[in-house]
């Protein structure tokens, strides 16, 4: 079960940042290919994001899975809302839906 402290920290993070990525490792040194793939997409679109390395914090690592009812990492949140993991972000990037969603949510990015 997710503890109250982890839940509140996750809630605070996703509400306090327009775009949050929960990932393994850092944007400079991703520790997982799926996290690296999402970073690549966000960088390509030049989206500003806040990243959280779940490997540094076991409460967050386990808690984030219950918070979103999603068993895998990475996880992307935009304006407090869970968007998806690597497969979904990749599909949305390819179809153009990701850019549409960023437009809708008024997130700045550079159209490629």
């Amino acid at each position: 079960m997710i503890d109250k402290d982890s839940f509140e920290r996750i809630q605070g993070t996703v509400n306090g940042n327009d775009v949050t990525l929960f990932m393994k490792g850092s944007p400079q040194f991703p520790q997982c290919g799926f996290s690296a793939a999402v970073i690549q997409i966000l960088d390509y679109l030049q989206v500003k994001y806040h990243s959280v390395d779940v490997l540094q914090d076991d409460g967050i690592r386990q808690g984030i899975k219950e918070f979103s009812n999603w068993p895998t990492i990475p996880q992307l949140y935009v304006k407090g809302e869970f968007v998806g993991g690597c497969d979904i972000i990749r599909e949305m990037a390819q179809s153009g839906e990701l850019a549409e969603m960023l437009d809708e949510k008024k997130i700045e990015y550079a159209a490629p």
Binding site: Q31, W70, P71, T72, G84, I88
Partner: protein, 89 residues
């Protein structure tokens, strides 16, 4: 039972897919975190099922994750999912 057979049978039971592919990609991740020497840790599934109709991407993946909760909590380290309806495939 081999893990890929388990994944197949659970997805068959949960989603009655029109087509189902389960691909073991563990060899691509040999030596990475989460990889075991015996393999069967990284999978990719392509599920085509009418059960996905009217569901968002997130909802579809949750349906697949729910069917495979036991595997994901245990031996399966990574699962890449493509979930389509028969119309989209």
């Amino acid at each position: 039972m081999q893990i890929n057979r388990k994944i197949e049978s659970k997805l068959q039971a949960a989603l009655a897919p029109q087509s189902l592919e389960v691909i073991d990609e563990s060899h691509l991740h040999a030596g990475h975190v989460g990889a075991r020497p015996e393999g069967e840790t990284h999978f990719r599934v392509h599920v085509v099922s009418a059960a996905f109709a009217g569901r968002s991407r997130v909802e579809r993946q949750r349906m697949v994750y729910a069917a495979l909760a036991e595997e994901l909590a245990g031996p399966v380290h990574a699962l890449s999912i493509r979930a389509q309806t028969p119309d989209e495939a």
